[in-house]
Symmetry: C2
Subunit: 123 residues, 2 copies
DNA sequence: CAGGATCCTATCCGATACTG
DNA sequence: CAGTATCGGATAGGATCCTG
């Protein structure tokens, strides 16, 4: 991971200092596109969800990874978290404005991939 | 990883059988959003590139991971590969139509994240 | 219910060396 | 140039147990 100057890439008609190892976007992108990040974000698209609702929505995720992923997304400002100090406690997660902004291309990405995939009738 | 019925999520106004562990989209999404997949795809956005050009474009990627990532993307039909049987050999990679389709939301995602990030003047 | 802590394994991934 | 093969360390991530 040697650092160094980085070429500028034109993305969507704009210039950025991209792909540089310490490009600040890299971290966020990595977390958004992490194994579970994308599914959490898409899950929260329509409405806020409780922890267990998220766990049940996203097949195959462990509690550990869900908690970990949520923590990262909250820290990045993509997801908010509210705690209802009841018994039992209720913790709800939802998308921030930034989160919704990010969610759009994410959902679009997912849609385009899904639309292209085996029509399922082959199975 | 117990299988089972999976809820249907509304994404971008459409219904899909999503998040199911063996949802075919999951694999492609995972590879597209893999650590290096997204950068390879964005790198190829403007034009096709040779292997070494890709390696130099994407800071921090190793030859192994580049080759591995490219192989996966070619297999998924997102990237094409042509070999010029010259000496030395020239191998070029570019986006297929599917690849370009996927690339749009990917670039948009990246743009939105970048736009939100530290204005850099703080540094 | 919502998680933190611990343990342990699978895989990711970089470094290096080698091939056509 | 464009890879493949192998090794080994780092990390991701699952399983389980425990707490407020």
């Amino acid at each position: 991971m040697t650092e160094g100057a980085q070429f500028r890439q034109t993305v969507a008609g704009q210039r950025y200092e991209v792909f540089h190892t310490d490009c600040p976007a890299r971290g966020v992108v990595d977390r958004v596109t992490s194994r579970w990040g994308i599914w959490v974000l898409i899950s929260l698209r329509s409405n806020a969800l409780r922890f267990y609702e998220l766990r049940e929505s996203i097949q195959g995720i462990s509690e550990k990874m869900l908690a970990q992923t949520l923590r990262a997304l909250v820290q990045d400002g993509l997801v908010w978290r509210t705690v209802e100090p009841t018994t039992p406690p209720q913790v709800t997660y939802g998308l921030t404005e930034f989160g919704r902004e990010i969610d759009e291309p994410l959902a679009e990405l997912f849609d385009r991939i899904t639309r292209r995939l085996p029509p399922r009738e082959a199975g």
